[in-house]
Structures are given as C-alpha cells and as structure tokens.
Amino acid sequence: MSDLFTSLTTASRALATHRMGIDIAGHNIANVNTPGYARRVVDLAARGPGTPAGAGSGVDVMTIRALRDRLLEERLNREAPLEGREAVVASALQVVETALGRPGESIDARLAAFFNSFAGLADDPTSRNLRHEVVLQGEAVAAAFRDMAGRLDRSRQDADREVRGLVDDINNLTTRIASLNQAIARTSAEASLHLRDEQGALVRRLAELVEISVVTRSDGGVDISAGQGRPLVVTANAYAIGVTSTAPSGFAALSINGATVTSELTGGRLGGHLYVRDTTIPAYQARLDEIAYELHQRVNALHTAGYDQSGVDAGDFFAFSTPPSGMSGAAAALIVHSTVAADPTKVAAASIAQPGDNQTARAIASLRDDRVLSGNTATFSDLWGQLVYRVGRDARSAADARDSRAEIVRQVESLRDNVSGVSLDEEAMNLLKFQRAYEANAKFFTIIDETLEMLLSLVR
C-alpha cells in the first residue's frame, strides 16, 4: 500500500510526462519545415507498483523516438542521384540547343548562302563583285562554324567548372558527415536524434551530388562509398575527391584515395556534368568537325583544280588556322584562305584558263545537293540535320527523364513524409490530448494534496 507522498510523486511525474508530450508536439510543429526532420513520438510506459499489491506508480517517458523508414530513406538516396544527373544533363543540353541557333538561321543557312554565292558567280563568272560576295559568304560560313565550336567548347568548360565546384561541395559534405559520425558514436541513441536528422539530410544532399552507397554502422554512423567501392567516409575519416587538371583540355580528372575515378562517377549532379563534358558535347563536336572538315576538303579539291579570274591556277579556298588532328578541331579552326581573303580575284570560277568559264563555280555550288558525305549518302545539310536531330532528341529525352525521375523522387518523398513528416492536425490533436491529460493529472495532484491536508488537520 503506497503512501500519500508516493501518490504526490506519481502525480508530479505524470505532469512532467505530459508536459513532455506537449513539448514534443511543440518541437514537431516548430520543425514542420525542417528538411530531413523526422517527427518525434514519446513512448509512455506505466510504472509498476513498488509493493506487491500496489496500484502502480503512474507513468514515465520510456523513449523519445524519431520515426524513420530506413527502406524509404535508402530508396530516396538511390533515386536522388538519378534525378540530379538527369536535371543537369537536361539543363546543359538546353544550353547546347540554343548554341545550335534558331532554325533556318544557323550553319545550314550559312552553308546554303555560301553555295548560292558560288552559283551566283557561275551566273557571271567575270564579276569582281560576285567574287567578293563568295569570299564574304565563305567567311560567314567559317565564322558560323567557329562560333558554334566555341559555344560547344564553352559548354564543356562550364561543365568542367561545375564539376570542380561540386567536388568542393562533396568534400565539404563528406567532412561534415565524418565528424557527425564521430559525434553520434559518442552520444546515446536518444540524445543523438537531432544529429541523426542532420546526418540524414547531409547524406541526402550528398546523394543528389554523386551516386553513393551507404552502409549504416551499429554505432549509428554511416560509411559511404562512391564509384567502384571508392571510400568517401569511413567512420570518422573523410576521403576527399582530388582534382587534377589534365592536358590538353585542362579539364579536371577526379581521384579518390589515389585512384582515378572520373569515368566511374556516373550518377548525381557530378555524374551529369561529367557525362555532358566527356560524352555528349564531344559527340556533337565530332559531328560539327566532320562537317567543317569535309567542307574544307571538298571545296578545296574543286577550287584548286580551277583557275582564278586572271586565268592563273587557283589555290585553296578554305584553310585551318591551326591544323586539326584528324577531323578534331576542324570547326574551330576553319577560315577562308588568307590569299583568297586578301584578293577576291583569286576565287576560282573556271575549270579551264578562260575568264568566262564557270565550271568550277558550278561544281562547288552543286556540292550543296551532292551526296558526297558519309560514304556518299548525305549532303552537307543532311549532316547538319542529323546533328540537329541528335541534339534535339538528346535534349528531349533528358528533359523527359528529368521529369519522370523528379516524379519518382517526389512520390518516394511523399511516402517517406507519410511516415516521418509532421502533420499539423495530428500535432494539434496531440497538444489537445496531452493538455487534457495534464489537466486531469493536475486535478489528481490537487485531490491528493487536499487529502494530505485533511490528514494533517486530523493530527492537529
């Protein structure tokens, strides 16, 4: 049989417990917008009686738990890098797409104008003005190739800058996760709830940047690796991603713990930028270089076989400011040959040493329609059309992939929120519940107090 003082203790403990309930509801409401916050619940337990036939000694807070669904969080960490990657690729390709120029005002239009200028010269092969026009159009088409090559190159450089920035962010995050690991390992599970919230949020942010695999340790810490099992965080140690600039592009090569991982990191925003920098844009550049190189070769082959306005053997029409290696770099280096640029009479219209002949001009003009490329299957505008198609298709599918990935992430986040997210209605209910319980317990306290007072007055 317990005494009245014990009952007082029971009442005061119950009051404290329910105030804790109110506090937790308040804490949940306060953190309703905190990213990575998992709502807290109080687990209550009835206390047994101190003596065999007692009424029990009230209630106590057993634990305060954060409600998390490990599976959903892991799922999120797996989906986040895919979304991050597609978002990056989609936005980079949007920029590349604008680099292609408006339909009908880009390289294809310049090519058509260039070939047409030769057709115009064929019309009046002795004209000096039309030769001038040919040189101007030649310079315009060469400039269009150089501009486009420059824009593609800038897109690659932008991607490289992003890569370097993201590596800094990643290294920063892994350092913080490692130090959190240390802090969590030193703290009891209950006291480290907010640390784990932070850990979850940091891992989530890291997963957006790079594809990672996460292993939770028994002490609550996480070990993180990327690529082919390259360590980023192991217990309290963070392994920074190293950046070295490589010749000749000066682009960043990445390494973890001494191993080169540039091609291993395919996911996340980092993977997206690497993909754009090393795969997508180089493919476009190669195609553009092919068109520029073929233009140089085909026009020069016909031009050098011709004769200029003075009936002298003509030289090259196009030249490269720096010799390309193979076709690579042809677009960026395409110029009108300095001899022709300086003196338009050096433009060849004739295939024989006669001023009125226009065979060469006609032959160059008809390159426009000739299927001379890709094994005699494609015209210049076909090749350009293929490039346009490819960029358009890539941009389109990247945007579609981004949207569907974002939708998946959104749905998994909703599922996680259904478990971990704060519901204001629920917290309002909890506040009400604990408030009423507190009131009832306060009443109980008053009653015990009155009973005690009555007892004391008996003694007097």
Binding site: A112, D124, P355, G356, D357, R362, R368, D369, G392, L424
Partner: protein
C-alpha cells in the same frame, strides 16, 4: 493514411508547376505561331525542316539564275533575229545584183549595200550582255571578231560554251561558240563569204555570186539552229521555272506543317491549360487554409 503537412504542399506545388509549364508552352505556341522553335520540341520535325530549308534556298537560287539567264537568252535571241534578217537581206541583194542585165551601177550599189550588211553582221556577232560577249564561248571578255585593214580576223573566242544550272536537273547554254554559227564545217567564215560576194558583185561574176549565196544560205541554217537552241533553252527555263515555283510551294507547305502550330488546336490547348492552372491555384489556396488549429479555442 497519414498526410504530412509538407507532402500536401509538395504535391500542390508540383501540380501548380506542371500546370504552369503546360500553360507557358501553350502560350508560346500561340504567341509565336510555331510548334517547333527549338530542336527538342520535335527533333525529327526540326531535322526535316533543315532539309526543306536547304531545298528552299537552292530553289530560290535557281530562280535567280533562271531570271538572269532568261534575260541573257532573250538578248541573244533578238541578236540572232538581227543576224537572220541581215543574212536574208544579203541573199536578196545578191540575187538582185545577179544576171547579165544588171548595170555596173546597180551592181556597185548592191555591193555597197552588202558591205553595210557585213558591218552590221560583225557588230551582231560581237554583241554583249552586261559587258560579256555572247558569241565568244568561255572567252567572254575577248571580242570574238576584230576587223583590221578591212579584213575580219579569225574567231578569237572559245569553242567551249558556257552553261548555267537553272535547276538541279537542267542547265542551259548562255555563252555560244560564235564560230559554230559563222563558219561551222565550212572552209570560210561568213565574213569571208560576204567579202567574196562583194568582190563577185562588183565583178559581175555570177558564178562567184552563186557560190557565195550558197555559203550565206548555210550560215542562215546555222544561225537558225542556234536560234532554235535559244528557243528550247527559254522554253526549258519557263518549264523549270514553273516546276521550281511548284516545288517552292510544296516545300513551304511541308515546312509549315513541320514547324507551324495548328492555331485552332493551340488556342484550345491554351484555354484548357489556363483553366487547369487556375484550378490548381484555387485548390491549393483553399486546402492550405484549413487546419485543426483553427478550431481549437
């Protein structure tokens, strides 16, 4: 199922964003009138449009070439008219100077008239268009026939003729080989024949006149052949011109089908997207207002 505070907003936001995206896209189509403004809008249509534009540019160039070529050929045609008239006049004059009944004065008059015709013929064969010689083949800057000391020199032009492409399938000659008209396979060119005729007229050499007349007649035939070629070329330009106009229309129509928005559809789509957007906004504004806290005293 629990509905968390945040997921309510996240869903609402993504709904609004999706509706806004559709609305913006529909507005873009309506305001620009274009379905495809960048390759990713429809990659295959964009690539197709590149090919159509290339054909359009080529067609426009062929049209320009056809116009200037037609002008040149019309000039050539009228020059050949003059040449034929000159040759006809020479024939009738020669016939009028032939015969034993003609007096020396009559023959001298005929000879002088033919001399005048010869000068006209010379200037016709040296005809130019925009400063280039029409009957000099590819030597368009060289005067094909030069007279010095009363004698017309040999053909100074080229036997290679100048052609111009008036479509992807057709080219026409614009710079003619003058010698093919004046001389052909004869031993003497038409100017030498005229010289012989003048001498024969003065001398009353009827046999010489007959020989010369035969030479003039052959020159007449050759000039007629040349004029027929010009006529055929002009006809071809007209036919090709019609075809090019048809091609241009067809290409324009295809380009429009590939790139232009169907306005009725685009406007319907915009109205629908606008309604959806407003509905999404309204639903969010309404649902976000209510909470249990509103009812707790």
């Amino acid at each position: 199922m629990r509905v968390a505070f945040n997921s309510q907003f996240r869903d609402a936001l993504s709904g609004i964003a999706e509706a806004a995206k559709r609305l913006v896209e529909a507005q873009r189509q309506v305001s620009s009138g274009r379905r495809v403004t960048k390759p990713s809008d429809d990659p295959s249509a964009a690539a197709g449009a590149v090919a159509e534009r290339a054909q359009l540019a080529a067609t426009e160039q062929y049209e320009r070439a056809a116009n200037s070529t037609a002008a040149r050929l019309n000039v050539t045609d009228s020059v050949l008219d003059n040449i034929l008239a000159t040759l006809t006049a020479a024939q009738s004059t020669a016939l009028s100077g032939q015969g034993s009944t003609k007096s020396a004065t009559e023959r001298e008059a005929a000879a002088q008239y033919v001399e005048g015709l010869r000068t006209a013929l010379l200037s016709d064969f040296n005809a130019t268009f925009h400063g280039t010689y029409v009957f000099a083949g590819v030597k368009t800057t060289t005067k094909p026939y030069v007279e010095s000391g009363g004698v017309v020199g040999a053909y100074a032009g080229s036997t290679t003729e100048v052609g111009i492409d008036i479509s992807d399938a057709r080219s026409v000659t614009v710079g003619f080989n003058g010698e093919a008209i004046t001389k052909g396979s004869d031993a003497k060119d038409v100017f030498a024949v005229f010289d012989d005729l003048i001498v024969a007229l003065r001398a009353g050499d009827d046999a010489g006149i007959t020989t010369a007349l035969a030479g003039v007649a052959r020159a007449f035939d050759r000039a007629t052949t040349a004029q027929t070629r010009v006529g055929v070329a002009l006809k071809a330009i007209e036919t090709e011109g019609q075809r090019l106009r048809d091609v241009k229309l067809a290409v324009g129509a295809r380009l429009s089908r590939l790139e232009d928005a169907d306005m009725a559809q685009a406007i319907t789509e915009m109205t629908r997207a606008e309604a959806a957007y407003q509905a999404a906004l309204g639903a969010t504004a309404k649902s976000a207002r209510a909470s249990l806290f509103d009812y707790l005293g």
